[in-house]
Symmetry: C2
Subunit: 197 residues, 2 copies
């Protein structure tokens, strides 16, 4: 064994994080031990705090510290718009863009026949329930532009047809994108959705 | 703000680790929250434990949980060989190779005129002290084959001249290495150090 067992335990746990392997986990742990007061102790405290307080919002699936997340508690965001995202990371990405002022619904994944994930495994029944009980004027599908994401979007659009207006994010050339580097599908979608200048 | 402040604090701290940036720190924290019982709580506990127990060995600079590390406490490793490494990570790498049965001395860096790191900033005075007081028959320089590493190796060899036998790791073609992909310096070193078959 190359390190004391306490350190080996920590390295083994760190190596389970996405983006870190055994080698980078060792590097991170050595860094932690060297910067004990500055990083290790605050990090251990922050983790213990999050382990204790973080919970899923019972309404939308976002992560917060109470039964209802900050966004579901904020009355100013009850503007009738409901944005459907796959994951909390996507919700955070939308919030960083700071352009959406409504509320969210986190599915917790996408439909996948291969992985046996049907509507009941996601938060889709809860979504249909919310559309029926909350005053929602528009459901905005902000799912990833992948095959699974788009399959899920179609399924949700079918389920909500005639109940509420359903829209989805526009597809086209990303800001700063160069045509030469874009795939054919994106160029095709951008051409079909062309706008009068 | 996109996440509750407890999570933002944790993301900010995680992003300070080597190998993780803001985006991968967010991914790691989401993973932690989802795998609370399996990863987050054990990780917080392991970190608190390391923060409390880990300390530098007073003799060699290795990381352990007592004043003297496991290797310095192990009488079987007092075979007269002392391996000099730059960093604890290098000591771990040597231990993983499981070919060295002596003791170590961790310098804690390399000499660097640019960063104003002289012998006093490293554990070099302690090394000279150890060579004078412990029964050491051979000092093996296992420093990185970088400019700073080799400068430091030359300095130490000078300091210990006539006091003890000083050797250094061989340079040559790494196991599995292909000549076509090796740099000129390595090929030159391997040719100069050629051996009779």
């Amino acid at each position: 064994m190359s390190a004391p067992s306490e350190l080996e335990d920590l390295i083994e746990l760190m190596a389970r994080l996405p983006g870190l392997g055994p080698r980078s986990a060792r590097r991170a742990v050595l860094h932690l031990v060297k910067k004990r007061a500055l990083v290790l102790t605050p990090l251990a405290d922050a983790m213990a705090k999050v382990a204790e307080t973080a919970r899923e919002c019972l309404n939308c699936g976002n992560i917060g510290t109470e039964d209802l997340c900050d966004i579901c508690q904020n009355e100013k965001r009850a503007n009738g718009e409901l944005c459907i995202v796959e994951d909390v990371a996507d919700l955070w990405a939308m919030e960083r863009a700071a352009v959406f002022r409504g509320r969210y619904h986190v599915l917790g994944g996408t439909l996948s026949a291969l992985d046996a994930i049907g509507p009941e495994e996601l938060r889709i029944p809860k979504l249909i329930d919310r559309v029926a009980t909350e005053s929602i004027s528009e459901v905005i599908l902000a799912l990833n532009a992948t095959v699974d994401g788009q399959t899920t979007a179609h399924y949700i659009a079918d389920q909500l047809e005639h109940r509420v207006k359903v829209t989805s994010l526009a597809q086209g050339v990303p800001i700063g994108g160069e045509l030469d580097y874009l795939d054919d599908g994106t160029i095709g979608a951008a051409l079909r959705a062309r706008k009068t200048v």
